[in-house]
């Protein structure tokens, strides 16, 4: 019976890693699509998004079954409850990557001076997501704390991009729509950074039993 439980936990862990990997790929593809103006790549992000949604449902039902049938305690209980929270954040990351890709499809390779900043921001956010998944995979509390600290960098990028866009609109009023699209994209990246931070917080909780907000 216990053995079976161990096996189920192992599979749960694997599925979360897979889902995390899918999220990483989604945001990587979205960032690449944005930087290269690649519309076809943006399409693949969408497919990835539905796979992520499906995984969320699967993992959720698996967690529920584990909670009901095995009545886990202590560390196992923390892992499962953290998993339930983590997949929600991962699903949001997938959704926002999809949203970014959707906007990219409308941009039609439009460009502006602030692009470089957004590219850097996309890179930093992607690395944050990768690190948060890594922290989960390795159950690495240090790395998770590092991810949480890096959220400030992304936030700073966001305010910089925002200021850049304000100047851009003032100088090129005809490009207003495009500038707003970019603002949306950078906001999505900023949100993704927040979700990565949430994941990192839940990783810390699952290992140490302490959650920042609890």
């Amino acid at each position: 019976m216990r053995n079976r439980f161990e096996q189920q936990l192992f599979e749960l862990n694997r599925e979360i890693i897979e889902m995390g990997a899918l999220c990483e790929e989604a945001i990587e593809a979205a960032a690449k699509a944005l930087i290269d103006g690649d519309v076809i790549l943006a399409e693949t992000v969408k497919e990835n998004g539905s796979a992520i949604d499906q995984m969320e449902r699967d993992i959720e039902s698996r967690c529920m079954k584990l909670l009901l049938h095995q009545q886990p305690v202590a560390k196992d209980l923390r892992l499962i409850s953290a998993a339930l929270k983590i997949i929600t954040d991962m699903e949001r990351i997938g959704d926002q990557a999809e949203d970014i890709a959707e906007i990219v499809a409308f941009l039609n390779g439009h460009n502006m001076d602030g692009m470089k900043l957004i590219t850097e921001m996309a890179g930093e956010t992607t690395r944050m997501v990768t690190s948060s998944v890594d922290a989960f995979v390795k159950k690495d509390v240090e790395l998770a704390r590092n991810v949480i600290a890096r959220d400030d960098i992304v936030d700073t990028y966001f305010s910089k991009v925002k200021r850049g866009i304000i100047t851009w609109i003032a100088e090129n009023p005809e490009d207003g729509e495009f500038a707003l699209d970019l603002l949306m994209i950078s906001k999505y990246f900023e949100r993704i950074g927040d979700h990565a931070t949430n994941i990192a917080e839940w990783v810390i909780y699952s290992v140490t039993g302490i959650h920042k907000e609890v």
């Binding site: 096996q7 192992f10 862990n13 694997r14 890693i17 990997a21 990483e24 998944v133």
Partner: protein
């Protein structure tokens, strides 16, 4: 153990108790019966003689508590009974003992009471007047006796149980104590029961067997780790669920994993999309492979499922570095493309000139110029093809005749050949140093010196100089060609030895180079196991140094 011993002790006690009870009852009961019977007979004969003399009066006077006396008439009518009123009693003529007494003078019988708890013994005798006197006594049956003994038996049983429990406990303790103290690690050193020695021998033998098997296993494990540890290829073994069973150092470096990853899910060390897809493909179809860049190098990943008896037992992941191979492939492709391009350029020029002449566009006085161009381009083509052939010969690595060659003499020959070209560019040529005799292929060595000097002149400034120095050291010969030319900027220095690479594309066309010279030099030097280095300062000088080893 204790309960087993207790059970056996208890069952023995109960059996003994029962047996003795049965035997004692079986012997004593009939004995007391016969004693009683003879007493009864004595009593009867006494009563009979008294009754014969004194009649009914004696019987009525007789206070018989222990016996019941009955006097029956010859026809069976009861005349007197000591316990019951005679008038109420039925005719006794049909009673067994009475009948016997009437017939033969005496009679006796034993009858069970209706409840089976009592037994009545009757003795009868015929008096002289034909009537019968009967005396009877009741006694308890065996069953009643036994029932009466139940309480003492129960007490004895309880005592037996308690005693046997205590005894069993003590016995078990004493029996088990040496067993508990057995030293199972060294079974042969025990001094326990003799009966245990086959068991101990067996344990000892098994100990030895396990030890030797462990050693063999350890040995095999070490062997495996030695082999996989020194492998350049990364090797990972997974079990059927995807956990890591074994990972060699090369794989740990490749995936950036620690030692603790053994037993973990493989996805924890690599969760990339192409790896996940390949794992799935391999799980479903038996094998998969893909190429990927890791840590700046190109790797080929081969995955195969381990099957036996139709079951999946796991997976082998093997990754090898194919960077060189990929680069070589790329180089070959580039070379082919470059060769085609380089060959085409002079040909286009030839075709163009020829077409112009064919169509009569060229005036007669211009014809020599066009023919000259055709000749020049054709000879350029020949040079190019010559260079390519030489290069491919070097690539093939075919053996060429070795001989003793003096680099200084060779350099002087080269300078003589290039003297005209040098004069044309106003460049001075000078050869200095030792003889520098090495064992090598003359043609290739000539090629090295020629190409280096040719370049030194071509890319020199007017009024400059080219110095060829040959220096002989212990076991080494150093050849250096120094010019005072335009130099090579640092970003080009690494690439000048590549095929068709030119620092300045437009310039080289004028100078007539093929872009293969230094590539040939590099290969020729490699053929002689030498080393070539380049030192340059832009617009000042370039020094090519070649070091040959004179040791075989």
């Amino acid at each position: 153990m204790t309960s087993k011993i207790m059970k056996s002790i208890l069952s023995v006690a109960i059996a003994v108790l029962m047996a003795s009870l049965t035997i004692i009852t079986g012997i004593l009961y009939p004995y007391f019966g016969s004693v009683q019977e003879s007493q009864l007979k004595d009593e009867l004969s006494l009563a009979a003689s008294a009754t014969q003399q004194l009649g009914k009066g004696y019987l009525e006077k007789l206070n018989a508590d222990r016996y019941r006396l009955t006097w029956v008439n010859a026809d069976g009518t009861v005349i007197y009974d000591s316990h019951v009123d005679a008038a109420t009693m039925e005719n006794h003529a049909d009673r067994e003992e009475i009948r016997e007494a009437l017939a033969s003078g005496t009679g006796s019988s034993t009858r069970q009471s209706s409840t089976l708890t009592e037994q009545t013994i009757y003795e009868a005798t015929r008096l002289n007047d034909g009537s019968v006197l009967r005396v009877s006594v009741s006694r308890a049956t065996v069953l009643v006796l036994v029932l009466g003994m139940l309480r003492p038996i129960a007490i004895v049983l309880v005592i037996a149980i308690v005693l046997s429990a205590w005894l069993a406990h003590r016995m078990a303790k004493t029996i088990v104590a040496p067993l508990n103290n057995l030293n199972l690690d060294n079974p042969m050193e025990n001094e326990a029961y003799e009966e245990l020695s086959p068991l101990l021998h067996r344990i000892h033998a098994q100990h030895l067997e396990i030890k030797s098997q462990l050693r063999t296993l350890q040995h095999k494990q070490n062997e495996f780790e030695q082999i996989t540890g020194n492998m350049k290829e990364a090797l990972v073994l997974l079990d059927s669920t995807g956990r890591i069973l074994s990972i060699n150092p090369a794989a740990r470096t490749l995936f950036g994993a620690g030692i603790t990853c053994i037993g973990e899910d493989f996805l924890t060390i690599d969760r990339k999309q192409n790896m996940r897809l390949a794992l799935q493909t391999a799980r479903e179809q038996g094998s998969a492979d893909f190429r990927a860049r890791e840590n700046g190098r190109e790797y080929q990943f081969d995955l195969s499922r381990i099957d036996s008896d139709g079951n999946h037992h796991g997976m082998v992941i093997l990754a090898f570095d194919i960077t060189e191979q990929v680069n070589a492939e790329k180089n070959r492709q580039e070379f082919t493309a470059n060769v085609s391009h380089e060959l085409k350029t002079p040909l286009q020029s030839i075709i163009g000139s020829a077409e112009l002449m064919e169509n009569g566009i060229v005036k007669a006085e211009d014809a020599p110029r066009f023919v000259g161009r055709i000749r020049k381009e054709a000879s350029r083509l020949v040079t190019l093809i010559d260079d390519i052939i030489r290069l491919s010969q070097l690539d093939d690595g075919t053996d060429m005749p070795h001989e003793e060659v003096s680099l200084k003499v060779l350099s002087e020959e080269v300078c003589e050949t290039l003297a005209d070209a040098a004069k044309l560019k106003d460049v001075s040529l000078e050869v200095t140093g030792d003889d520098g005799v090495i064992n090598g292929v003359r043609r290739l060595l000539y090629e090295i010196v020629y190409n280096l000097c040719d370049n030194a002149i071509k890319y020199n400034n007017p009024g400059g100089s080219v110095k060829v120095t040959v220096a002989q050291k212990s076991g080494e010969v150093l050849l250096s060609v120094q010019d005072t030319g335009i130099g090579i900027s640092p970003e080009h220095q690494e690439k000048v030895f590549e095929r068709f690479y030119r620092v300045d594309k437009s310039h080289s066309r004028q100078s007539g180079g093929t872009g293969l010279g230094l590539s040939i030099v590099k290969h020729a030097v490699q053929y002689h196991h030498g080393k070539i280095t380049l030192e340059s300062e832009e617009n000042k000088r370039t020094i090519f140094s070649v070091i040959f080893s004179t040791r075989a």
